[in-house]
């Protein structure tokens, strides 16, 4: 069929547009490159599987990715009793510092600050991802910024 974009090409378009930012956001959220790889691949694969059932692929894949990553971190935490963020690869200094600071934030605050301040996702989408009100997102954002600033100041 010519002239009609297929589902795969539409999803690929979303991937080309959002994939890198989403991957970096998940890296910031999880502190783990493997989690970012697996999460982003799974989120887009599920987007492909769901076909036309997804009306807003971009919003959907962001929400799905953060939920997948959060679940993966919970699973790892249960399995090892350890917190995430042990980036076993080389990153430009001082990125490990930022990842370590982010890792100390509660999951909700980490999600909010990464989605909002790094990925520039709309507040409504963040609220949907977390199942909370938009006003609550703003409160978490303020708290997360305050904590992150204090943490980074303290580490330098």
């Amino acid at each position: 069929m010519t002239g009609v974009p297929t589902r795969r090409s539409l999803v690929e378009e979303v991937f080309l547009e959002q994939g890198d930012t989403l991957w970096r956001a998940i890296l910031a959220f999880s502190g783990d490159r493997a989690v970012a790889d697996d999460t982003v691949a799974e989120a887009f694969a599920q987007l492909l599987r769901r076909g036309d059932a997804v009306r807003n692929p971009t919003a959907w894949v962001w929400t799905a990715a953060f939920r997948i990553a959060a679940e993966e971190l919970r699973r790892r935490s249960r399995a090892s009793g350890a917190t995430p963020a042990d980036p076993g690869y080389e990153m430009p200094d001082p990125l490990p510092e930022v990842i370590a600071a982010l890792a100390t934030l509660p999951t909700v605050q980490r999600t909010v600050i990464v989605m909002h301040d790094y990925a520039d996702r709309p507040t409504g989408e963040i609220a949907h991802t977390l199942g909370i009100a938009r006003s609550t997102v703003r409160v978490h954002l303020s708290t997360a910024r305050r904590k992150l600033r204090a943490l980074l100041e303290g580490s330098r």
Binding site: D37, R49, A64, P92, V98, V114, E125
Partner: protein, 516 residues
């Protein structure tokens, strides 16, 4: 120190892993099933309906509601009942091995939009379909996107517009049957049915994964068939706005009052847990202890403290980043108890249920959280309704303007900003959602100058001092040597954000209500 946004921009320098080929490798099969020819589609639908009808008839014979009494037992063998999900006065049966949770979400699934509030119930053979998987307490919320649903999931969803509960006179004929449902297009097996039960228009959907079992689907059909109006025998006494003979009056220091029924007690409390804080009063027919604050949930009396015939009414401020009430609660008086203005809770029969409402008074939001034991008498319910209807601003309340000496009136304690030099019971505290932005008029305007310009009720002689605090600046306002207000300001870009405030009521000092 730069803004955290700038710190996060460092992630731009990390090179992502190329993933498209991995995505394609994970995605099995054709991207979209080819369209089914019309004739074949009819055959498939007829065959499916016949199968559903057969399975439904079989399951209905085991599940039909008139075959047994649902209330007050919590479970009946392998069955459970869900009563009044989110205030819809219906009861639904489901197998004890399945999961059920209340639902509350915007009707528009586009996350950037907001539509009318949809409420209802989700029942599924998998916990992953629940709004709050793993939750140990009722936690109504939006449906998850469910990226991890197993392939054999079967889910029944019952939704209604929160505004339409009890709005229709004529109910649909019962039992409902998914044989009457429409088949919706999409990759999942989805059928939907519209009906009216207990005066409420509801949308019932049954969704199933590609590997669903016929047994589970028949069970879902039987769940739908069990939907019926809840028993309403214990409802309806006429509320009384005045305290009965022997009753008390209560007048809070934050502007509301209430008529407390004879024999009931009231006690002030303040509590915090993590970032969550609540302060107010608990009124009950049983002298209950202070309510429990659990982050993510409204302040409430612990169900273990509530006797079967007990009622507790908690009226409080509830500042919890993980739990948010309505953006703009209405003023007093409250809607009649359990009417449309209440978020009517749900519970398994035989356990306490909880109803919640909010109101706003003098710029502060209050939660009214009512917990009702399973064996509460009609007279106690009547007292409760009278109490609720009597809650009013003190200047207009149906209670005495003079505090009853027997009723505590020690006001609200301070928050993390510390205790002020207030007369007893005068200190009130508020978390400001979202924070009020305070923009300096120039780069040189100091925090005391900003506060003096924007806050209300500050006298020229009041002294304003600041001190560093975690991530921000703490402001103290003193008058005649007494500290009468505290505020917490966070720096944000070129401005400040006011997020917490506490003051003595007699100081007249109030935070700015709009960004300035």
């Amino acid at each position: 120190m730069s803004h955290p946004v700038n710190e996060l921009r460092q992630f731009d320098s990390v090179q992502p892993t190329p993933l498209w080929s991995a995505i394609e490798a994970r995605h099995p099969g054709p991207e979209i099933p080819p369209p089914v020819p019309p004739f074949r589609r009819v055959v498939v639908i007829v065959a499916a309906l016949a199968l559903f009808a057969g399975a439904g008839a079989f399951a209905w014979s085991a599940f039909r509601p008139e075959a047994r009494s649902i209330l007050p037992e919590t479970t009946d063998g392998d069955l459970k009942s869900y009563v009044n999900p989110m205030g819809i006065h219906i009861t639904v049966d489901y197998p004890s091995g399945w999961y059920a949770q209340s639902l509350s979400q915007d009707s528009n699934l586009d996350p950037s939009q907001t539509g009318p509030l949809q409420v209802g119930l989700v029942i599924s053979n998998t916990e992953q379909a629940m709004p709050s998987p793993g939750a140990t307490a009722p936690s109504p919320g939006p449906l998850p996107e469910n990226p991890d649903l197993p392939m054999d999931f079967v889910t029944v969803t019952i939704r209604a517009s929160a505004e339409a509960i009890g709005s229709v006179d004529q109910d649909s004929a019962l039992p409902l049957s998914m044989d009457d449902a429409k088949v919706a297009p999409g990759p999942e097996n989805l059928r939907s049915l519209r009906a009216v039960v207990a005066g409420t228009p509801i949308d019932v959907t049954v969704a199933a994964g590609p590997n669903y079992s016929k047994t589970d689907l028949a069970t879902a059909n039987a769940i739908v068939a069990s939907i019926r109006p809840s028993d309403t025998a214990s409802q309806s006494p006429t509320p009384s706005p005045s305290p009965e003979a022997g009753g008390q009056t209560f007048r809070s220091d934050v502007g509301w009052g209430a008529a407390i029924p004879a024999g009931w007690t009231s006690a002030s409390f303040s509590t915090s847990e993590g970032a969550a804080r609540a302060a107010g009063v608990v009124i009950s027919n049983d002298g209950l202890p202070a309510p429990t604050l659990s982050p993510g949930y409204p302040i409430q009396t612990n169900s273990r403290d509530l006797p079967p015939d007990g009622v507790s009414v908690v009226i409080a401020t509830d500042s919890d980043p993980g739990f948010e009430g309505p953006a703009s609660p209405g003023p007093l008086p409250l809607a009649p108890f359990e009417s449309g203005g209440w978020s009517v809770g749900s519970a398994a029969a035989g356990t306490p249920y909880m109803d919640v409402a909010w109101f706003s008074l003098d710029g502060q939001d209050f939660i009214v959280d009512v917990k009702v034991g399973p064996e509460v008498s009609k007279s106690t319910m009547s007292d409760l309704r009278a109490l609720i209807s009597s809650i009013a601003p003190v200047d207009q309340a149906s209670v005495s303007d003079t505090p009853d000496a027997s009723a505590p009136s020690d006001g609200m304690p301070g928050n993390d900003l510390g205790v002020l030099d207030c007369p007893a019971g005068e200190q009130s505290a508020v978390q400001i959602y979202p924070p009020t932005e305070l923009v300096p008029r120039s780069g040189a305007e100091s925090v005391p100058e900003i506060v003096r310009r924007t806050f209300l009720g500050i006298d020229p002689n009041d002294e304003i001092t600041t001190s560093g605090s975690e991530g921000g600046t703490r402001v103290a306002i003193s008058r005649g040597g007494s500290t009468i207000a505290h505020a917490f300001l966070m720096p944000h870009l070129d401005r400040w954000e006011l997020s917490e405030f506490t003051s003595c009521a007699s100081s007249g000092i109030k935070p700015p209500s709009t960004n300035g």
